[in-house]
């Protein structure tokens, strides 16, 4: 429990079978897995992955589900602490000599998989490409960068347009994944399927909707790593099938499973379950630029009508955390004082509606998705808000379809039941979701005070100072009820007993770097 994860499981039937055959030497000691010797080297980990990657080029991809695959091939300039997402050095150490200058000192002796050196020139090439190439999807992450200068063989200096202390966290994500410039130059516009990075594993093959295979990088810069000789990802979008592939012993692990499969994992003795909080927040997006949600009282009424704990129980089998703001309680910038703003109070909701001029309740049009979990969520939501006098008129469709109708130019629906997948730095979450003109701010309007606070949150390098600014942002967003966060989803993983060393992370995008096969 100390690491924020809890693990459930017992001796597996397979272990016993293996014992009978005299094969399972490691588990023959009878000790639990954690008490055995340090991680064993070798072996191929077989993993069921939930989605086909959109691209294996970090700059051109677009799906949050890509990261788990990308992280095997690419190391990032900055990394984070698994439990709190506090940034820490990766391929580089960073410093801010002044608020508008960021210096990156690159680790010595790192090589890309093609044998070329990961030096200052390569980092500059990657950052310039990420912020300027027409195919780059992450230009918006690096808008604060004015210039990238090579100031030493292993030193890069970023000149900033404005202070931006979100950059360390940004460089722990796609923008900080270093790809071989030599390879990118050869490939031209055809970079999606032939990745060369400097990560623990090298790319072998990718067959759409079928598999991604990576193999050990023998010249990896971290001594003794990685433990695994390789990873074979089988792409299995149907989560129940993915879990079956682990139950049957064909795969060693399935990740990012929906909470409804928890009872199935519990029943299976040969599986270990890992469940841990993530930034993934099920929430209601509001279009507050127009009636009726331009009225703060209506938005507050919705927040009071929500029974968040009930929602976690009903839709997540208890595997979740009630969300009172856009950050979960374990995050470094979480502010406890905001969490008490909206207790479950349907009467208060009705009163607020009456004050807003809706004595007989109000009807709200809402977009939602048509997959099994989303439909269930929408039904629970409908029941809860109904008690507060808020009647929901749902339109359901596929995720891209409904999201585009709400966020893009059509501006259908007053609200959207969706989720925020989280970002490495909280300032990105607020900038992308609430700032003026932001895509995930359907109404595109923003109070200048909030805009200023978002900017301010990127000015200090000190995390305590930044946390104080985020506390003000969270209070502003929640007091004005600019959204209705409902619940944080847990990362739910099923592992075979022999798959060891895995730890879930708060970003909810699993890394396999510490894993080994016992």
């Amino acid at each position: 429990m100390t690491d924020g994860n809890f693990t459930i499981g017992g001796p597996s039937r397979r272990d016993i079978l293996l014992l009978a055959g005299g094969v399972a030497l490691a588990s023959a000691t009878g000790l639990p897995a954690s008490a055995q010797e340090a991680a064993k080297k070798g072996g191929i980990l077989k993993v069921a992955a939930p989605a086909n990657p959109s691209s294996l080029d970090p700059a051109t991809g677009g799906s949050g589900a890509d990261h788990s695959l990308l992280w095997t091939i690419y190391d990032t300039l900055v990394e984070w602490d698994y439990e709190t997402l506090k940034p820490k050095p990766g391929l580089a150490k960073w410093s801010y000599p002044d608020p508008k200058t960021m210096v990156l000192d690159i680790e010595k002796g790192v090589k890309f998989h093609d044998g070329t050196d990961l030096v200052a020139e390569a980092v500059k090439f990657n950052l310039e490409r990420n912020r300027q190439d027409e195919r780059s999807n992450i230009k918006a992450d690096l808008t604060s960068v004015a210039a990238v200068d090579v100031t030493g063989p292993l030193q890069v200096t970023l000149r900033l347009k404005n202070p931006d202390t979100a950059l360390p966290a940004i460089l722990s994500d796609r923008a900080g994944m270093m790809a071989s410039p030599a390879n990118l130059k050869t490939l031209g516009a055809d970079t999606n399927r032939k990745p060369v990075g400097a990560g623990p594993w090298k790319f072998v093959s990718w067959a759409d909707n079928e598999s991604v295979v990576v193999t050990r990088n023998d010249s990896y810069w971290r001594p003794g790593r990685p433990y695994l000789d390789g990873i074979e990802f089988a792409i299995i979008p149907e989560s129940a099938t993915a879990l079956r592939s682990v139950t049957s012993g064909e795969k060693d692990m399935a990740f990012s499973l929906p909470a409804r499969l928890k009872p199935v994992i519990d029943r299976s003795k040969q599986l270990r379950m890992i469940a841990a909080p993530t930034l993934y927040c099920v929430q209601l997006y509001f279009n507050y630029a127009r009636a009726p949600l331009d009225n703060v009282k209506v938005r507050q009424a919705i927040n009071f009508a929500l029974d968040r704990d009930g929602f976690v129980k009903a839709t997540m089998g208890g595997l979740g955390e009630a969300a009172t703001m856009t950050l979960p309680s374990t995050h470094w910038a979480y502010d406890k004082s905001v969490s008490t703003l909206y207790p479950h109070d349907p009467d208060r909701a009705r009163k607020l509606l009456a004050e807003a001029g809706f004595k007989d309740g109000i009807e709200i049009t809402m977009g939602g998705y048509n997959d099994q979990d989303s439909v269930q969520r929408s039904e629970v939501l409908q029941a809860q808000l109904g008690q507060g006098g808020i009647r929901l008129k749902f339109t359901r469709g596929t995720i891209p379809e409904i999201s585009a109708q709400f966020f893009a130019t059509e501006k259908k629906f007053d609200a959207l039941l969706s989720a925020w997948t989280g970002r490495p730095d909280p300032s990105m979450t607020y900038a992308l979701g609430f700032d003026k003109g932001a895509y995930y701010n359907a109404g595109r309007e923003c109070d200048p005070e909030l805009s200023k606070l978002i900017q301010q949150s990127r000015e200090s390098e000190n995390l305590t100072e930044r946390a104080a600014v985020f506390a003000r942002i969270q209070r502003f967003v929640m007091e004005n009820a600019l959204s209705a966060p409902i619940a944080f989803q847990y990362e739910l993983d099923a592992l075979a007993q022999k798959a060891e060393g895995y730890k879930a992370d708060l970003l909810g995008k699993p890394k396999f770097e510490n894993m080994s096969l016992g």
């Binding site: 086909n52 099938t241 049957s248 585009a404």
Partner: protein, 317 residues
């Protein structure tokens, strides 16, 4: 005579196939464009601004007029290029070449099972019409039609893969890699798929056979002193062969479509998974490519059926 009429059938069918292919791909293309949702939004990624989405649309030529986009696709196809996936950049032909064998294997296996079980059952039921055996077979056949194949699939997995550990629960192995592996992976999905087929073959065969067996011709054969089994196997089955062929070709087409669900249950990276994933994201080059391939397959299949009709019964020209 036979030869020239056969040639005639082939040529006529091939000519007919061209407008079918164009029409099918055009309608699918139009549907993809008409329904809401935009691949540019998916391509632009998680953080996309309106401007970025517009930029993507331009970059991938998605802002061109509808007919121009379709024309461009068709033009490429005429030059033997099925283009590449907008999402993942994999060549559509590569995807199809990899996925189709998986689908074909389970469809063919299901077909073989449906015939291997359905024909004896149908014959048994017809030759003892009205008996308890007939009733029992027909009840089982009705169940076979009624049971959803994804549900049957999950039951099969629970029993044969998870409990007994006899067969793999998920995935597929190419035949070229390992014949045993490919078959062991294909057996359960093929069983799930075959259940409906068994029922259909049984019922169709029984009703045609019952009709034949009660005909004047069969009475004459009885009068001639032929044994009942000779009548059944030599004359009865020969007469229902045309009907059976119709059932087989319809069944084959239906099984090709039914694999979509079974592939999802068994995590088989076949044509079904390919087109579903592409359709959800409006990845139209892939959808178009799969539709194109499927239409070709169905047209070819119908052509073969027509030729076989001609062989089995020369009166059908």
């Amino acid at each position: 005579m036979l030869r020239s009429s056969k040639g005639h059938v082939i040529v006529r069918r091939l000519i007919q196939a061209v407008p079918v292919i164009v029409l099918a791909t055009f309608i699918v293309f139009a549907l993809l464009k008409l329904v809401p949702g935009d691949i540019a939004v998916t391509l632009a990624g998680d953080n996309a601004s309106d401007a970025r989405v517009a930029e993507i649309r331009h970059l991938y030529g998605l802002d061109r007029p509808f007919l121009v986009q379709y024309g461009a696709w068709l033009w490429k196809v005429l030059h033997g290029d099925l283009s590449t996936s907008l999402l993942s950049s994999e060549a559509v032909l590569t995807s199809i070449a990899r996925c189709f064998p998986h689908t074909l294997l389970i469809v063919v296996l299901a077909m073989v099972m449906a015939l291997a079980v359905g024909i004896p059952l149908g014959v048994a039921a017809a030759s003892r019409e009205g008996s308890w055996l007939d009733d029992a077979i027909m009840t089982v056949a009705s169940l076979g039609v009624a049971v959803p194949n994804f549900w049957l699939g999950m039951l099969l997995v629970a029993l044969f893969a998870l409990d007994l550990n006899w067969l793999p629960a998920t995935g597929a192995v190419p035949l070229g890699e390992s014949v045993g592996g490919a078959l062991s992976h294909a057996i359960l999905p093929a069983c799930a798929l075959a259940a409906g087929g068994v029922a259909e073959v049984t019922r169709q065969l029984r009703s045609s056979l019952v009709e034949i067996l009660s005909s004047q011709q069969v009475r004459t054969l009885h009068a001639k002193g032929l044994s009942p089994s000779a009548i059944l196997w030599r004359h009865g089955l020969k007469n229902v062969s045309v009907n059976l062929l119709t059932v087989i070709s319809l069944l084959f087409n239906r099984l090709l479509a039914a694999t979509v669900v079974v592939e999802a249950v068994f995590a088989i990276p076949g044509m079904g998974s390919l087109i579903v994933n592409a359709a959800i994201h409006r990845d139209f080059p892939v959808v178009q490519g799969v539709v194109f391939a499927m239409v070709l397959i169905v047209v070819a299949l119908n052509l073969v059926t027509d030729i076989l009709y001609n062989v089995l019964d020369p009166r059908i020209a």
